[in-house]
């Protein structure tokens, strides 16, 4: 069931991940109280995990 990876699909996947990453990083910045470098690094990591989960969840639900 492996799909062929076309440049277009890669671009779309990257765009989706980046969009989620940006939104979740913003959410992290809203949640925390004081902003410093470590907070930003941890927030970026957490947002990346969230973005991966978001994409995995969407694919798991629509893929039949």
């Amino acid at each position: 069931m492996r799909r062929r990876t076309t440049p277009r699909a890669v671009l779309l996947a990257t765009g989706e991940l980046l969009l989620w990453w940006g939104a979740l990083a913003l959410l992290w910045l809203v949640l925390i109280s004081t902003v410093d470098t470590l907070e930003r690094v941890v927030g970026a990591g957490v947002a990346a995990a969230g973005a991966l989960l978001a994409r995995a969840g969407r694919r798991a639900v629509t893929w039949r």
Binding site: L27, L29, L31, S33
Partner: protein, 150 residues
């Protein structure tokens, strides 16, 4: 004496007593609706308490309730949908009234907080709370009709 705490007491007493009455009496369909509205009624109370005690960190409790309360209702909507079949439990008037109270509380707190990240956090909580509640109400009134067994 603190106006915020007074408001929280009123909200807790009124909303809590109504929720307790709704969830312990009547058919299952009504109880589920009452369980859903408990989240919507008590989350603003938690926000008011955080403001009344002057501790912004307590807002996390409201955030968690706004996130997980609708999830709890979805659990009941999904796993009780056989009991709720043909009942279409809903109380849209009440749902919108409670959502309006939540929105009013969030707006009042935003006005006090002033622009900044704390205000955006309050708005996020308000959006999660109201959106989650409306979706959970939708799920109760027939959102899981196509679910069989699983």
């Amino acid at each position: 004496m603190n106006g915020w705490i007074l408001a929280a007491t009123v909200e807790l007493g009124g909303g809590g007593a109504a929720a307790l009455w709704g969830v312990t009496t009547g058919p299952t369909a009504r109880r589920v609706v009452a369980q859903n509205l408990t989240t919507a009624a008590l989350c603003p109370a938690l926000l008011l308490l955080a403001q009344g005690y002057g501790r912004p960190a307590y807002v996390d409790l409201a955030l968690l309730l706004a996130l997980l309360g609708p999830v709890g209702t979805l659990v009941f909507a999904r796993l009780l949908h056989e009991d709720l079949e043909g009942r279409r439990p809903s109380a849209w008037g009440l749902t919108y009234a409670v959502a309006g109270v939540g929105a009013a509380v969030v707006i009042a707190l935003c006005a006090v907080t002033g622009p900044g990240r704390a205000m955006v956090k309050l708005l996020v909580i308000g959006a999660l709370l109201i959106g989650g509640n409306l979706i959970a109400s939708r799920a109760l009134s027939g959102g899981f009709r196509g679910v069989l067994g699983g």
